[in-house]
């Protein structure tokens, strides 16, 4: 690690001064101080400076399973602190803290004594299902939980072994307490930091030879341990990609073609722009122009001044893997087209005989629902630093959720061997699915080209405007629903045909023989006992670039389904909460959840009712089962001056078992905010092939004034561990929409609600 970050300059005053030149430098202040201390003391510590190449040497040997080689993850320092290299990137979801809760629990070391950094690329870190590495899909903790426990336990075993040798006693006569090995008989205590050097030389014990702690004795797992990064983030010391600087670095700003697929034709005023203050050079890139300068602001002003005649896309794509945006594309027209696309679609889920059930149903209800395109709108604009090194390697610093994928892509683009490409993954200023490998959606190809053309390291920062022009979006969909009710008003059949393109097929390509689950999740996977069901998809390719967005398909499909379910309840004369209870009566896990959220809200009451402050209010209920967890949410709303006010969201979540309840509560808050934002105000609109909004002015995100109170409760059913980062979202939009429908008597069938005008 140290060789990769050697030349990183941290522009942080007090710290800078303490830096021995050429010493390993860390990006965070604490890391930096500790790191240099370790180096100065010359201590042999577990995994210190573990070179990426070392990991690759292991690749060659193919000897080690990901997530087992202790030194690749852990460094215990003479001062009895530890550094942990996380296979998952931190972007606010608290995964760094969760990782050291788990590792610390088994290692017997207080999470507070860790610093955590993102691990470099390398096969050791492919811990998701033992074969890949992404931070996303709410998979980090649940897929690595067992691995990380074993890792911590292995490290502890190594320390015990080292202590046994030193004390000349059998290892089973030793015990640990946080940070120490203790020999009860003699009263001796040895700090882990003292043992690390000896432990380092020992082989990692076989995975099945270590014993794990009894969960009943957990001290940190399952507890609201404070997050490790909170102080740094509160005092401006957390360092994001956009903050990094390397020696000799230049800055670049870009202007993208107004529509993806167009290329640079003539540039009318290149000479005069070259003459502008601070401009070093002007570059033509695929589908963009760039200006390089010593200062980003100069580059930005100059690149905006470039008058480019953009050439329409020809037969040969200007970049691989992109879609050419048509000049007449409009989201309004596209929504119409989706709603009216003929056909019955391809089955995604089938149960019973829906057709027959509709034929014999007492009442048949049909409705078409819509979801909208969404931006990620993470607060940190994209940036990348690229640096070619004298030894033929390439360093790239960029926000990313999947380092090895970017490494492979960069290797392909540059013709370098992957082993020569170092991808660094700093803290993310929000991710929400933004930082995967989407074509034309990230600045790293530009940074690499500019570094090559200028012969110096280059940092590219996209303005917010350029970001919204190239941000790939959460897909939009139209869903044709059909519901059949029996004489008692109970649903006996449900059909949902989603006309859309799923994000996965949008990114990786459509396979006509396969169904993209991410297109329909949330329509599928519902637990309601409706005997006859058919969920299907009609694939319609989008002209836009698509992406994952927090909670992926569920982010829209649960809105679509749960709103229609309320519509069925109304048609059948049932209370929507009671109806859900009945439909889940044989499902104790979800019944408990539904009951819990009802209790949390003080007992289910739908309304409309008059609140204490005199406003008319109503409540809506919805459920979702995304990413291995289950949720139920109730929202309370009123209308003020024609706009929806969400007062409270109560949400119960059952993720099976948990690591940190405080983080989960924060995630429920965060996911609720995004859900409320989506349902109230968010929509990416295209006209004439271009996004209307290029900044937060025309693409507003939830402001503090519209944030509801959020009440979260966690139910640990003990079932298989589910996800946390995303599951809080999907139930919220339909809960809000259902409350609004109840309050206004007007059925809401599309997001966002800002397109409706409600009477107060």
């Amino acid at each position: 690690m140290n060789d990769i970050i050697r030349d990183l300059q941290v522009d942080n005053l007090q710290v800078d001064k303490d830096l021995p030149t050429g010493a390993p430098v860390n990006l965070s202040r604490r890391g930096l101080l500790v790191g240099s201390m370790g180096a100065a003391a010359g201590a042999l510590v577990l995994g210190f400076g573990l070179p990426v190449r070392g990991a690759r040497a292991q690749d060659a040997a193919k000897a080690v399973a990901p997530g087992t080689r202790v030194p690749a993850f852990l460094e215990i320092r003479p001062d009895n602190t530890a550094r942990f290299l996380s296979p998952f990137v931190e972007g606010g979801q608290g995964v760094f803290t969760a990782m050291v809760q788990i590792v610390g629990e088994e290692l017997d070391m207080d999470p507070k004594s860790f610093i955590v950094e993102n691990a470099p690329t390398g096969s050791d870190y492919l811990v998701v299902f033992g074969k890949m590495r992404i931070t996303g899909g709410s998979m980090s903790v649940r897929t690595s939980y067992d691995t990380m426990r074993k890792l911590g336990a292995s490290a502890r075993a190594m320390l015990l072994e080292a202590a046994a040798t030193r004390l000349g006693v059998a290892a089973d006569k030793l015990a640990t307490e946080p940070g120490y090995v203790v020999h009860a008989a003699s009263g001796q205590r040895i700090a882990y930091g003292d043992l690390a050097g000896d432990a380092m030389s020992l082989p990692v014990p076989a995975a099945d030879s270590v014993t794990l702690r009894d969960p009943k004795q957990f001290r940190w797992i399952g507890k609201p341990v404070e997050r490790l990064d909170v102080l740094d983030k509160s005092i401006g010391k957390a360092v994001y990609a956009i903050d990094l600087k390397v020696d000799g670095m230049l800055h670049a700003a870009v202007q993208h073609a107004p529509r993806l697929g167009m290329s640079v034709g003539a540039v009318r005023n290149e000479a005069s722009v070259r003459a502008m203050k601070g401009v070093i050079s002007v570059h033509h890139l695929p589908g963009a122009v760039a200006v390089v300068s010593e200062r980003w602001w100069h580059a930005k002003r100059a690149v905006e001044a470039l008058q480019v005649d953009w050439a329409e896309a020809g037969a040969k794509p200007v970049m691989d893997g992109i879609r050419v945006m048509p000049a007449n594309f409009s989201t309004a027209d596209f929504a119409e087209r989706l709603a009216n696309e003929p056909g019955d679609g391809k089955d995604a889920e089938k149960e019973g005989d829906a057709a027959a059930a509709f034929a014999s149903a007492k009442t048949v209800v049909t409705a078409t629902y819509h979801s909208q395109y969404l931006h990620h709108a993470q607060l940190e604009p994209p940036s990348t630093i690229a640096r070619f090194n004298a030894d033929g390697t390439l360093d790239v610093w960029m926000p990313n959720q999947a380092p090895e994928q970017f490494q492979a892509d960069i290797a392909k683009r540059t013709g370098l061997d992957a082993s020569k490409v170092n991808v660094h993954s700093p803290m993310l200023g929000g991710f929400f699915g933004r930082h995967f490998l989407y074509q034309a959606a990230n600045p790293y190809p530009q940074a690499i080209q500019l570094a090559k053309e200028t012969g110096r390291p280059v940092k590219v920062i996209w303005t917010r405007e350029e970001e919204f022009l190239r941000d790939p979006m959460r897909p939009m969909a139209a869903v044709r629903f059909k519901g059949g009710l029996d004489a008692n008003g109970m649903p006996v059949a449900l059909e949902a045909i989603s006309i859309c393109e799923g994000p996965t097929e949008g990114i990786a390509g459509h396979n006509k023989d396969k169904l993209d689950e991410t297109a329909v999740e949330g329509l599928t996977g519902k637990s309601y006992a409706i005997p006859n069901r058919r969920i299907a998809q009609i694939y319609v390719e989008n002209p836009t670039m698509l992406a994952y967005w927090r909670s992926v398909g569920n982010s829209m499909n649960d809105f679509l389904y749960e709103s229609f379910l309320d519509e069925l309840a109304d048609k059948g004369g049932k209370d929507p909460y009671e109806l859900r209870m009945q439909l889940l009566k044989d499902n104790p896990r979800l019944s408990t959840l539904l009951k819990t959220v009802g209790e949390m809200s003080g007992g289910w009451k739908r309304g409309p009712f008059t609140a204490e402050d005199g406003t008319r209010r109503a409540r809506g209920i919805a459920m979702a089962s995304p990413f291995g967890s289950h949720t139920a949410a109730i929202a309370e709303v009123s209308i003020k001056a024609g706009e929806v006010v969400v007062h409270d969201v109560w949400e119960a979540i059952d993720p099976g078992s948990i690591v940190n309840p405080a983080i989960i509560e924060a995630q429920i808050n965060s996911a609720s905010a995004l859900g409320v934002s989506q349902v109230l105000i968010e929509e990416a609109v295209y006209k004439n092939g271009m996004p209307v909004a290029r900044n937060y002015d025309l693409y507003p995100i939830l402001p503090p004034s519209r944030m509801p109170r959020v009440h979260a409760r966690i139910i640990e059913s003990g079932e298989k561990m589910g996800g946390i980062g995303e599951p809080g979202l999907p139930a919220v939009p339909p809960a809000v929409a259902n409350a609004v429908s109840t309050l206004t008597g007007e059925r809401v069938r599309r997001m966002p609600l800002s397109q409706y005008t409600f009477n107060s």
Binding site: N269, M276, R301, G642, E643, R694, L698, P700, P703, S754
Partner: protein, 448 residues
């Protein structure tokens, strides 16, 4: 402009066919006998280009993505849309077959070679005052410097009988002055140059002079007190360019006017709305002498205290909410959250980069249209010498309701000594329906 066609209908009914000759005749041109013209010198071409800048032909006759002068801009009227035409020297679609006299009749009299009358969206009531020399140079420029573009004209969306153009001849006879600008010997050369630019090619009155019910500008020169006294047009209020202290240029020096036209900004204001377009495409390209002449001339137009009201004096605002023991209005809270970071809690802006709202004509004019429009939609980027502005006005249509915009503008218009009228939700809503957000991308109309 919008009521124009309705008025024309009346005229059709009232006036009989006896005037057939009159309405079909072509006005005379001093260039009728010009014969074959010599190849223009580069000097003539440069002057012609400068005239094209003064007249801002490109603003209507080009689209951002189109070929220069190939036509384009859509102008809505109650009867349907009309489209600016192709004025490239393309023989098929443009003016390639126009003789100098034909060109002259079109520019100064609004009559095409086949005798058809142009809608006065083409500002020939102003252009009629242009000098013969300017017309000749402009013609040379269009014929030799503009690339022919084979782009067909778009038919207007106006249907029969309202699409008959001949009644316009009658309108012209009544409302369009005859003859080129006549020097005023009692004034100095700079004044006369300024007057000429303002009245003729610059056609400032097309936006800044109020119109009568018959849609003609109420005055076409300083002889009428309505001249450049401010007018509402297409969702913007073009303020008075007279010496009105509140709503005009009374507090501006000649130098201020010069700076504004040259740089798009000065200590008092930054161009926005339609003026941003006029600045981007026209005024900044004029010579310093011409811009100073304009300032000099405008400073000679007296204000009207009875129309303008009590002179504005800055008054500090009551402390905003968030400070101890104070309570704001809904408007002041919105101002603090959405406007104050740029325009300052003191309303004084960050001149010359971000304009003050305290004492600005837009805050003092009874019509709030410009402020409503710029709040809803933001403003076009101001591009000076090819470089887009460092700061731009965002659009608030997606963030603020009609009520909130009305409240915040009412706050702006009644604080810091401002005394413009309060703004209603209905006014905001009306403009919301008929306007679109400004592009955050700089729009540069190319002339070649």
């Amino acid at each position: 402009m919008k009521k124009l066609l309705l008025v024309l209908l009346l005229i059709i009914v009232v006036v009989g066919g006896g005037l057939l000759w009159f309405v079909n005749h072509k006005p005379g041109s001093p260039f009728e006998t010009a014969g074959t013209l010599p190849l223009p010198s580069t000097e003539v071409l440069a002057r012609g280009e400068a005239v094209a800048r003064q007249a801002d032909c490109v603003a209507c006759h080009s689209l951002p993505d189109g070929k220069p002068y190939a036509g384009g801009l859509e102008m809505g009227t109650p009867l349907g849309a009309i489209f600016a035409t192709n004025i490239t020297p393309d023989k098929e679609n443009g003016i390639g077959n126009y003789s100098l006299a034909d060109f002259d009749r079109a520019v100064r009299h609004g009559v095409t070679p086949d005798g058809e009358r142009l809608y006065p969206a083409m500002p020939y009531p102003s252009y009629v005052k242009m000098s013969d020399e300017d017309i000749r140079d402009l013609y040379a420029y269009f014929m030799h410097q503009v690339q022919p573009a084979a782009v067909a004209n778009r038919a207007s969306g106006i249907e029969w009988p309202m699409n008959m153009r001949w009644p316009l001849a009658l309108w012209n006879a009544v409302f369009v002055p005859s003859g080129t600008y006549a020097q005023k010997p009692q004034q100095d050369a700079q004044w006369n140059r300024g007057a000429y630019l303002v009245q003729a090619a610059g056609h400032c009155g097309a936006c800044h002079t109020p119109r009568s019910v018959t849609m003609n500008e109420k005055a076409l020169d300083e002889g009428g007190s309505a001249f450049l006294s401010g007018a509402l047009l297409d969702g913007w209020y073009a303020p008075s360019l007279r010496q009105d202290v509140n709503t005009g240029l009374g507090r501006w020096s000649e130098e201020d006017i010069f700076q504004f036209l040259k740089n798009g900004r000065n200590q008092h204001a930054v161009v926005f709305g339609s003026m941003a377009e006029a600045y981007n495409n026209s005024t900044q390209f004029m010579s310093d002498d011409d811009l100073k002449a304009i300032g000099h001339y405008l400073k000679s137009l007296p204000g009207d205290a009875s129309r303008d009201g009590t002179p504005w004096v800055y008054a500090a605002a009551a402390p905003a909410q968030g400070q101890a023991g104070t309570r704001g209005t809904p408007g002041s809270a919105t101002y603090a959250a959405k406007c104050g970071f740029c325009h300052g809690t003191d309303g004084r802006g960050r001149s010359p980069w971000i304009p003050p709202l305290a004492g600005s004509p837009a805050s003092l004019i009874e019509h709030a249209d410009s402020q409503i429009n710029v709040t809803l939609n933001g403003s076009a980027r101001v591009v000076t010498a090819g470089v887009p502005d460092a700061y731009r006005m965002p659009s608030f249509r997606q963030q603020l309701s009609d009520r909130e915009i009305a409240d915040v503008l009412t706050y702006v218009r009644s604080t810091w000594g401002n005394h413009g009228d309060h703004v209603t939700q209905q006014e905001v809503n009306a403009l919301r329906q008929h306007t679109d957000p400004a592009s955050s991308t700089p729009i540069i109309l190319q002339m070649r």
